[in-house]
Symmetry: C2
Subunit: 218 residues, 2 copies
């Protein structure tokens, strides 16, 4: 297998929400999971685990929890779209349609990867600040990104979802996640229904990066 | 330029803490910054910015803040090492020595990349849970990981540090970061003093991944 280039993979990684139910070969699944293990974590503690959900009953239960939350989220988003310029609203409409598809077919996804983390194994340096903490995510989401990039390399569709975090206690009970472990995201993966990964729309570096001081050009 | 393969980049990305002061060419810097912009974010909002610090006075001030915190962290870590098996203690000793080098030479790093984020532009689904939040990091650290991987591809050493988050208000004042924006990490980058990136030590998939239920083999 000729390996996909790093920049090619990163620049064509899309959120792919329309997935086929076809199973994922074990060797492919192993490669995307191993890619996650390679990511850096604070003190190399690797304070995360993945539960790969393929069991039909468990997926059906996750699907119900997901669909409830998606409907609420999509309803709120549609109200926002009323005030958007036409192009942005059209883009959002496409995202919502694909999101509806995912919510309707969540149980038929071949695998849902639930990322768990243990804050007791992390040095969370922003825990005492007067704002919401994010630093614990610094030892989880690099592994998530590695996994998404590996899906892109293997031709697997995927999307990072965090709606199930809202009902974490139900997910913990369903999957037997022990006390002290939280959930960081759930990633449905599978072969794409349509074209899958491809071109992406992002702001240019000049709008995202400053030089030496906020607001100054690099 | 023949592009580095995705899996090769991910499996050889190390924390490189001994950096040369040589400047980074503008085209190389642009490529690693663009890689960050490609990462997924919730609703494609891209709620992060980078301040690239190359000014000598600003780096010197960050270096002072960093060294104070590093000394405290390293002191605590040395106490932990007393209880470690010999091999783990030797590994930790190497990490601490490299960390000391970074703390002593922080101001001489050619660039320090400070990642900022705005929680008001994020849907933080774990904000109301009875545990510390991480989900905001899901729209920042994938971009951080893209940037680290791009550094690997370009032969630049780098390491994800979060110690400066402890003194966020000082960093905000120094760099003019506005009210409402937090800091997620600071990444010193530069060409390596020694061999730079290479083999990594991580737990195998079988220790990090469960099948359908916590504790069950995939």
């Amino acid at each position: 297998m000729s390996e996909v280039g790093l920049y090619e993979a990163m620049s064509t990684l899309r959120a792919v929400r329309r997935l086929r139910p076809d199973p994922i070969p074990e060797d492919v699944l192993q490669r995307v999971l191993e890619a996650a293990t390679w990511a850096p974590t604070g003190g190399n503690r690797q304070p995360w685990r993945i539960v790969v959900v393929r069991n039909g009953d468990a997926k059906a239960r996750l699907a119900t929890l997901y669909a409830e939350r998606w409907k609420r989220f999509a309803g709120g988003y549609e109200k926002l779209m009323a005030g958007m310029p036409e192009e942005a609203a059209a883009e959002s409409r496409k995202m919502l349609d694909a999101g509806d598809y995912l919510a309707d077919h969540f149980a038929a996804t071949p695998a849902v990867l639930v990322f768990c983390f243990n804050p007791r194994d992390m040095a969370i340096t922003d825990a005492k600040l007067d704002r919401i903490s994010v630093v614990g995510g610094g030892s989880v989401y690099p592994a998530v990104q590695n996994l998404l990039l590996a899906c892109r390399a293997e031709g697997l569709g995927c999307t990072l979802t965090t709606l199930l975090c809202e009902c974490e206690s139900e997910v913990q009970a369903l999957l037997g996640i022990p006390e002290g472990w939280g959930t960081a995201c759930a990633i449905p993966i599978g072969y794409p229904q349509r074209s899958g990964h491809g071109p992406i729309r992002r702001r240019p570096v000049a709008k995202m990066v400053y030089g030496d001081h906020w607001g100054e050009a690099l």
